[in-house]
């Protein structure tokens, strides 16, 4: 139980990853998100760039890195849409910051902890996105609690599996 406490995880080292993983993983997430949705329209309920942002934020445990990474991935995702650049960037910057801040305090290698983090962050991401689109841009956005709940659950399942796969890319020397 002490593995979930912040005091127990604070001194953990930052998990290193090869640079290529930091570059390719977001690109792959964006490409898959764009390509798979073409053939499977319901695939867009997933948010692979968000999952990658959360993963690198909680593993790097650096709020600045998480914020910047979230902003870059979000803006890249914005570039694929018709909305102004920065909507996803703002959302993912905040998610990256919060995930990195929590990663310092809790054990993020436990699957249960990851599941709860993913569920909460996906829900929070949807809420922030709704706030920006609906209130800042005044564009229509259909908010459905059930839909967002299902969306968070699906991202939770996929995120846990994805995090486990990304764990395999850790550098072996540590």
């Amino acid at each position: 139980m002490n593995r979930f406490s912040a005091a127990a995880r604070r001194d953990l080292e930052v998990q290193p990853y090869p640079l290529i993983v930091f570059v390719l993983a977001p690109l792959l997430a964006l490409g898959l998100q764009s390509f798979v949705s073409l053939h499977f329209p319901r695939f867009d309920i997933l948010d692979l760039p968000l999952l990658v942002t959360i993963y690198f934020a909680i593993t790097r445990r650096n709020p600045v890195t998480g914020t910047v990474a979230g902003a870059i991935i979000g803006i890249a995702q914005d570039a694929l849409t018709r909305q102004p650049l920065g909507i996803f960037g703002i959302c993912k910057s905040i998610i990256g910051y919060l995930a990195a801040s929590l990663g310092v305090r809790i054990d993020t290698e436990n699957h249960g902890t990851r599941a709860m983090l993913i569920f909460g962050f996906v829900f929070l991401h949807s809420g922030m996105y709704w706030l920006l689109v609906r209130r800042l841009l005044a564009q229509p956005y259909a908010w459905s609690w059930l839909h967002e709940f299902i969306r968070s659950l699906i991202n939770l399942v996929v995120g846990v599996i994805l995090f486990a796969l990304l764990d395999l890319a850790k550098s072996k020397e540590y």
């Binding site: 390509f35 949705s37 902003a71 694929l80 849409t81 909305q83």
Partner: protein, 584 residues
């Protein structure tokens, strides 16, 4: 201060990053959209999008190529079962479609010609560019996808994207080898549509759930599910007449209470798109071949039209007979007054000619009161018209006809007397210049046609043929006489007797209705030796203003043209001579 930044470094970085993005969003949203360029993004934003597309597109294109290659190997070398039978079926269908195409092409050309005649600027789809979809936005909120054709292939912003089933969207962003397409299901899209049956126009855009809808429509019970929806062409993007979808249902618009939204089921399967067509040319310019076809078809149509008009002209009495003799030849020429004078048709010959109907008109017994045997000419005839021209005919069986003839003769033979007043039979008062004094003898001898107080008409007539004139009073007078029971317009036209001297046929040119009071001093005079036409031509000058010649009034009640008006000299100099009576 240094400890403050180091202590709150993370939060400060977050604030700076968020602030920068919020400012960036505000700038993008605030920027007005230029109309002529129609670029949704400014240069910097577009560059970022270009970078993102450049990063994402190559893997997508590679994956797409890989998948297409695998599918190609499967389709072309493995999955060839029943291909031979399919080929046979397709050949048969091709033959059938070719037959159908002939008729359709002809109809299309005819439609183009007609619309061109109406100067209707129709946009046609003349050139399309097939493109494959290589990616989407990947989000539920942005209904946008990428295609593998860009500016290098001729794709431009705002070009419509369609499928054979219906419209898909329009080009939003163009990159060298990639373009972004905004679907019609996106809330920020818009297309002018029209409901095919009810002809209700509206704007199509996607709702928050990604279903297209025609927004802000007045409630109408005629809108039923299944009604086709087509593009209206009013958005200047989509050509007119493309299929959009069918009406799914009608829902109330929560934000605009009395209005409704019509949800549309798209004709194109937007969730399973793989290939689309980008309309790269839909102007009204035609290709050389199309222009040639258009010219050929128009020439053929013009030739047909000319031929038809010639045939029609031969049948219609509205042409000038070029072979008719001129007026200056002293003949009774009904075509002398130039264009626009209708030449009447020949009435049927009399079955039993007698002196009243000398084989030019049927017997009075066969005449129907009020009916016309020959069309009345509408006239621009002038006062120089021959005397035999105005000849709506008094029924010949009446004994008064003889009297009328005598009256006519008398009036013609009295050069000093004033002729009757000519009044349009529509009840309008004739212009002053048209009014002439009736012949003195008309009152005394014309009682068979009109009573003494009724208008009396006399027209010049030669003595050697039956009175070629039309005598008609007002409706009352005519009814009293019983000759024209249908009123003032119901004078049975009786063609004039051919001029015995000239041999020219006397034809009905203008219906002359004589009205006005008769002077008391009318006297019967001897007939002039001149021909009726000559008599009338001499009226303005030869009678030195003592007598107004009859004027010709078109029987449609219209004001005759100035060339038709006969203006005796005395009329202007002596207004007191104008008749005081009018049409009653």
């Amino acid at each position: 201060m240094e400890s403050f930044f180091s202590r709150y470094k993370n939060a400060l970085v977050l604030i700076v990053v968020l602030l920068a993005q919020v400012i960036g969003v505000a700038i993008q949203v605030r920027r007005p959209l230029p109309k002529e360029h129609a670029q949704p993004d400014a240069g910097g934003v577009r560059l970022i999008r270009y970078w993102a597309i450049s990063l994402v597109s190559p893997p997508e294109r590679f994956v797409h190529w890989l998948g297409a290659s695998i599918l190609g190997v499967w389709d072309n070398y493995i999955d060839l079962i029943h291909v031979r039978q399919q080929n046979k079926d397709l050949q048969a269908e091709l033959q059938r479609l070719r037959i159908e195409q002939g008729g359709i092409v002809e109809d299309a050309r005819q439609g183009q010609r007609l619309q061109q005649l109406l100067a209707f600027k129709e946009k046609y789809v003349y050139q399309t560019l097939p493109a494959q979809i290589i990616g989407t936005s990947g989000t539920e909120q942005s209904r946008i996808f990428s295609i593998n054709k860009g500016a290098k292939e001729g794709v431009g912003v705002d070009m419509p994207v369609i499928t054979p089933n219906g419209i898909v969207g329009r080009i939003r962003e163009v990159f060298p080898h990639t373009s972004q397409v905004l679907e019609i299901t996106d809330p920020t899209s818009g297309a002018g549509v029209i409901l095919a049956n009810t002809r209700i126009r509206g704007i199509l855009r996607g709702n928050a759930l990604g279903q297209p809808q025609v927004v802000n429509i007045m409630p109408d019970d005629r809108i039923k599910a299944g009604e086709p929806v087509i593009t209206s062409g009013g958005d200047q993007i989509f050509p007119r007449g493309l299929a959009v979808g069918v009406v799914d249902r009608v829902v109330n618009d929560p934000e605009h209470d009395p209005l409704v939204d019509v949800l549309i089921r798209p004709a194109a399967n937007l969730s399973q798109l793989e290939e689309v067509l980008v309309i790269t040319n839909m102007g009204d310019q035609l290709t050389p071949k199309q222009k040639l076809d258009m010219m050929q078809s128009e020439a053929a149509a013009n030739a047909e039209q000319l031929k038809a008009s010639e045939i029609l002209a031969e049948r219609l009495p509205s042409r000038i007979d070029p072979d008719a003799p001129k007026d200056d030849a002293g003949t009774d020429d009904s075509n002398a007054e130039g264009e626009g004078i209708a030449r009447p048709m020949r009435p049927p010959a009399a079955l039993h000619p007698d002196r009243f109907t000398p084989n030019t008109t049927p017997s009075a017994a066969s005449l129907t009161p009020g009916a016309r045997l020959a069309p009345q000419s509408e006239g621009s005839g002038s006062a120089t018209a021959s005397a035999s021209r105005p000849h709506a005919v008094v029924p010949s069986t009446s004994p008064a006809n003889t009297a009328a003839s005598n009256v006519t003769d008398a009036s013609l033979a009295a050069p000093k007397k004033k002729g009757p007043e000519l009044v349009p039979d529509d009840g309008s008062r004739p212009p002053a210049t048209m009014l002439i004094k009736p012949a003195p003898g008309a009152t005394a001898t014309g009682t068979a046609v009109s009573s003494t107080h009724a208008p009396m008409a006399t027209m010049p007539a030669a003595s050697n043929h039956v009175a070629p004139l039309t005598v008609s009073g007002s409706a009352n007078a005519s009814n009293r006489t019983g000759n024209t029971p249908t009123g003032n317009a119901a004078v049975n036209p009786r063609p004039a007797t051919p001029n015995a001297e000239s041999g020219a046929p006397a034809e009905v040119k203008t219906r002359v209705i004589v009205d006005g009071p008769l002077p008391s001093g009318a006297k019967k005079t001897t007939q002039s030796a001149t021909t009726p036409g000559q008599q009338m031509q001499k009226l303005p000058s030869a009678q030195t203003g003592q007598r107004k010649g009859p004027e010709l009034v078109p029987d449609d009640g219209s004001r005759p043209p100035p060339t038709m008006l006969l203006k005796p000299k005395t009329q202007q100099t002596n207004p007191a001579q104008q008749p005081q009576g009018g049409r009653r």
